[in-house]
């Protein structure tokens, strides 16, 4: 069906499904104003907030700015003790004395020193003790993985400077491997990831905030990198003059012991949550969750990463939505606005909440709309996931597609490649609710210090906000057939 035909069919259906007497949202739509959205973004993306890293003082200031808005508009607190849902991150520091890898054969065990013989980044610091056979996988291309049984074994892959690492990594993980060990390119000069070794040593020693380490140890796929000298020792131990065919299991096993210092400090971080109670006694305990992450990546020696689009745009869209609903009054179902932190560190805020949600007694979340980066690129360009091609395609996407045209988005593009890349993924994964992700795609300033307010299309954010409000209106039917 063409979009306009779809719209023509659906609009009366949607209109009929909403009972008479439910107030029109026209007044609320008018309240969503591009100039006021811009004023909010100037604060959220200001240098003074220093890029809103998780955790950071700038992030806390942003949270308090959002809270002030919810208080002023008389939104209900959406967390146990107020407007902040607090969760802990751990600034995981490596216990180097208890972190050691070994190359193991029946006759020999060669210990490797972390930070010089082998290394991994702070994202891969966890408690772990795994020994498994090494299987050489060449450069880790598609063909290399065919017909190879990697279940419980460690893939040994040659890293090439110009080949993206995630291809081989994903293939190895999907094939059931226990892990992946990177070897430097024998034809290259440098250590693999050479310039990052110092950075990784630093951040593992200093501590990098992340999901608290499981003291018992995590049984999950992870990777590490070997130095050139280590690779040479490996081949010697394996008794090989040169690398074998891809798919060959070596006589050398890899022992991978990683240890997080149990004294690593914890830091409290906040999601900001506001509730707009529903008016229908039958439906008020069903919660429509609208989310956006309000953190970004802080600063580096290249400057402050203001994150105007990522995700200042989503943050201020939710602020405008709060204002619109305050103007409108209650919807039939309860709405929760949630600004999550830690997204840039691995969807940590949405993960924390979805694993241990706080809602009023007896309430349950029924769906999620997540907004991340909606202020750039062509005015009529907006992507959505899950698309009709995705296994999780649901009524929320259909709703967005049908209403998009009313706000200048005649067609919604496919964002399936980003299905796991923002917070909606956590809500679906951990709570099993239908989700919808609105996103207007990356651009050349993505994760650069140049993602700044002057480049933002405020009218676009206004229209996306209006679209979400229309979707909320569409979610007022007696039965949600998502």
């Amino acid at each position: 069906m063409t979009k306009s035909l779809l719209l023509a069919v659906l609009t009366p259906v949607l209109a009929a499904a909403v009972p008479p007497g439910v107030a029109s949202i026209d007044g609320a739509l008018e309240v969503i104003d591009a100039a006021r959205i811009r004023a909010d973004l100037h604060f959220i993306a200001s240098d003074q907030l220093e890029g809103r890293d998780t955790p950071s003082p700038g992030l806390r200031l942003a949270a308090r700015y959002i809270r002030a808005r919810l208080e002023r508009l008389e939104w209900e607190p959406g967390a146990a003790d107020g407007y902040f849902y607090e969760y802990d991150l751990q600034s995981k520091q490596i216990d180097e004395s208890a972190t050691v890898a070994s190359l193991v054969t029946d006759e020999d065990e060669v210990e490797l020193t972390w930070g010089s013989d082998w290394i991994f980044s702070s994202r891969r610091l966890l408690n772990r003790d795994v020994t498994a056979p090494l299987v050489y996988m060449g450069t880790g291309g598609q063909e290399d993985f065919e017909d190879v049984d990697l279940e419980g074994k460690v893939a040994l892959v040659v890293g090439k400077a110009d080949v993206p690492w995630w291809g081989a990594s994903r293939r190895a993980e999907r094939s059931g491997a226990a892990g992946l060990v990177w070897l430097p390119d024998p034809d290259g000069d440098e250590e693999l990831f050479g310039s990052r070794w110092e950075e990784w040593r630093e951040s593992c020693r200093k501590g990098s905030p992340g999901w608290p380490a499981d003291p018992v140890g995590e049984d999950r796929f992870t990777s590490c990198v070997l130095a050139r000298s280590t690779a040479n020792r490996l081949w010697k131990l394996a008794g090989l003059a040169e690398p074998p065919a891809a798919g060959t299991e070596l006589r050398v096993r890899f022992r991978d012991v990683r240890s997080v210092d149990p004294g690593s400090p914890r830091v409290g971080v906040e999601n900001v949550c506001g509730l707009w109670p529903g008016s229908d006694p039958e439906l008020a305990d069903e919660v429509v969750l609208v989310s956006a992450h309000y953190d970004h990546v802080g600063r580096s020696d290249r400057g402050i990463y203001n994150g105007a689009d990522d995700n200042g745009s989503g943050t201020v869209a939710l602020l405008a939505l709060a204002e619109a609903l305050a103007e409108h009054g209650p919807l039939r179902r309860t709405v929760m606005l949630m600004w999550v932190s830690g997204e840039e560190k691995g969807l940590l805020g949405s993960r924390a909440w979805s694993l241990d949600p706080w809602l009023p007694e007896g309430y349950r979340a029924v769906c999620n709309v997540n907004i991340d980066m909606v202020g750039r690129n062509a005015p009529d360009s907006l992507l959505v996931t899950p698309s009709p091609e995705h296994e999780k395609y649901n009524g929320m996407t259909r709703l967005a597609e049908s209403l998009g045209e009313l706000e200048g988005f005649p067609e919604l593009g496919n964002a399936d490649a980003y299905y796991r890349r923002s917070d909606h993924y956590m809500f679906e994964e951990n709570m099993g609710i239908p989700i919808c992700f609105l996103f207007s795609d990356v651009h050349e300033d993505y994760h650069q210090p140049t993602d700044t307010v002057d480049k933002i299309d405020y009218d676009k954010i206004r229209r996306v906000t209006r679209l979400v409000l229309r979707m909320l209106d569409g979610l007022q039917e007696d039965q949600l057939d998502l």
């Binding site: 909010d40 100037h42 003074q48 200031l61 308090r64 002030a68 208080e71 002023r72 008389e74």
Partner: protein
């Protein structure tokens, strides 16, 4: 006591009788504006500004900048016009006088080749009032306790005098040594006790050198502006003295040259210690072409005193309350048919010496061709008894004017039966600066309390309803200030 002619006793009687007519109420627009002043937004503004995350809004500080941007965002969203060209922020400069600890040190170089670098704050101290960008270098000459007898006959020209701390008056010791031509004085702990005599005080003054102090760019100290270097006086702590004596023997008699050169380098940060600070300024243009060039100024300082002794001084009453009051007024006024222009001015640097209002007074951000005709200043309006409010200049003050009379007459409508006198505070806040520009001013203030300038001046103690009523009072005053002839 001479009252202004307008307020002669006879006229006062008439004024009282005619009060309902003479204090015009615009009726419906005023009622609507008053209703727009609500407690929740006031409370949420106070809570944000007084949050620990803003670290007490010191001048200068990041928390202060955040507060300025918060206020600007609020004003922009409410719909007030930018008061400074295209924006809401008026920038002015302060000298932030602090040492750059990375480039400040006292180095001791012995003729033997041995050397030691002393760390400021740990090994040696000097006062925050003796911060400068200068290097003094010279051989160290022992001078006993620095008495006139000790110094007599010693050639101290171009040298650092070294003295044991003693009961000898510090200034006297310093002057003696300086007059003898020394470039500096190093004081080591007292020979008997092994300690510096006023170590606590010295450490406090040294902390001031690290944290810095601010001075208005307009008031250059002669020693800074004139660039004449200060005499280099430094106090060595136990560790510093030990390091020094390790380099020399201990056989010291007045006049002994130690064979050690002292290099006392003091540096300011690269920007020369100039910091930029902001006032926030917004305009509501008057709708009457005849009166729009007359500007009613409403002011509040939004800075406080930051972190002292490791504790955040949140400044909820001083002056998040006044700041929030102005923001509530902004909401009320935006729809109100003002005939005269209203300007909201949020100043910083008040706690440091009314610097922000002074900066504005030097370069008022008034629209072309307009002039400020009066100022209403609010500072601390959220504490003490609900009915307790003070005003200055009172009838007893030489600056008493029609604004105060207006406030006094309208106050009972908002639960302030009587306005006490705050004349003691006339010179203590920004209205004094605006008065100095020649305009009538009124200062509203709830009086001091036990939490004044303490870490305990926090949001939970604030009476947001009181701030609401003060805002309503000011709204009524502004309404009354729309009359053709004001006669203030």
């Amino acid at each position: 006591m001479r009252l202004p002619a307008l307020m002669s006793p006879a006229l006062l009687t008439w004024a009282a009788l005619l009060a309902p007519a003479v204090a015009p109420s615009s009726g419906l627009p005023l009622e609507r504006a008053l209703a727009d002043i609500r407690e929740r937004p006031i409370c949420s503004d106070v809570r944000f500004l007084a949050d620990d995350a803003l670290e007490g809004r010191d001048t200068p500080s990041r928390g202060l900048q955040v507060a300025a941007r918060y206020i600007a965002a609020r004003l922009e969203r409410i719909g007030w016009e930018p008061g400074v060209g295209e924006g809401y922020l008026q920038t002015w400069s302060l000298e932030h006088i602090a040492v750059d600890p990375d480039r400040t040190s006292l180095r001791l170089e012995a003729e033997t080749g041995a050397a030691h670098t002393l760390v400021f704050g740990d090994d040696y101290l000097f006062s925050g009032w003796e911060v400068q960008d200068h290097l003094a270098e010279g051989p160290i000459v022992f001078c006993g306790e620095g008495t006139r007898e000790d110094i007599d006959g010693i050639d101290l020209r171009g040298a650092f005098a070294l003295c044991y701390d003693s009961d000898l008056h510090a200034n006297s010791r310093r002057n003696t040594v300086r007059r003898a031509g020394a470039v500096g004085l190093l004081v080591v702990p007292n020979r008997e006790t092994g300690t510096l005599l006023h170590e606590d005080r010295l450490r406090r003054l040294a902390l001031l050198a690290l944290t810095g102090r601010v001075e208005s760019g307009e008031e250059r100290r002669p020693d800074m502006g004139g660039r004449a270097p200060l005499f280099h006086q430094a106090f060595l702590t136990e560790s510093g003295a030990r390091a020094l004596f390790d380099l020399v023997g201990s056989d010291l008699r007045p006049g002994t040259r130690l064979g050690v050169v002292a290099r006392d380098e003091r540096r300011l940060p690269g920007d020369g210690g100039v910091v930029e600070v902001e006032n926030v300024c917004a305009l509501l243009p008057g709708r009457d072409p005849e009166l729009a060039d007359e500007v009613i100024l409403v002011s509040a300082h939004y800075d406080h005193v930051g972190i002292i002794g490791g504790e955040i001084h949140n400044g909820a009453d001083d002056n998040a309350s006044g700041t929030a009051s102005l923001l509530a007024l902004a909401e009320a006024l935006v729809e109100f048919p003002v005939r005269r222009t209203v300007m909201l001015l949020f100043v910083s640097g008040e706690e440091k010496g009314l610097y922000g209002s002074q900066a504005w007074a030097r370069e008022p951000t008034l629209p072309e061709g307009s002039r400020a005709i009066c100022d209403i200043n609010l500072d601390m309006v959220g504490r003490n008894e609900p009915g307790e409010l003070y005003v200055t200049p009172s009838p007893a003050h030489r600056a008493y004017n029609g604004l105060v009379e207006l406030a006094t007459r309208l106050a009972p409508l908002e639960g302030f039966a009587e306005l006490g006198s705050a004349d003691r505070y006339y010179d203590r806040s920004d209205h004094a600066v605006f008065a100095g520009m020649g305009m009538p001013v009124v200062f509203l203030f709830n009086g001091e309390h036990a939490d004044y300038h303490r870490p305990s001046d926090t949001t939970d103690k604030i009476d947001c309803d009181k701030i609401r009523r003060v805002s309503r009072l000011v709204m009524r005053m502004i309404d009354a200030l729309q009359d053709d002839d004001l006669g203030l």
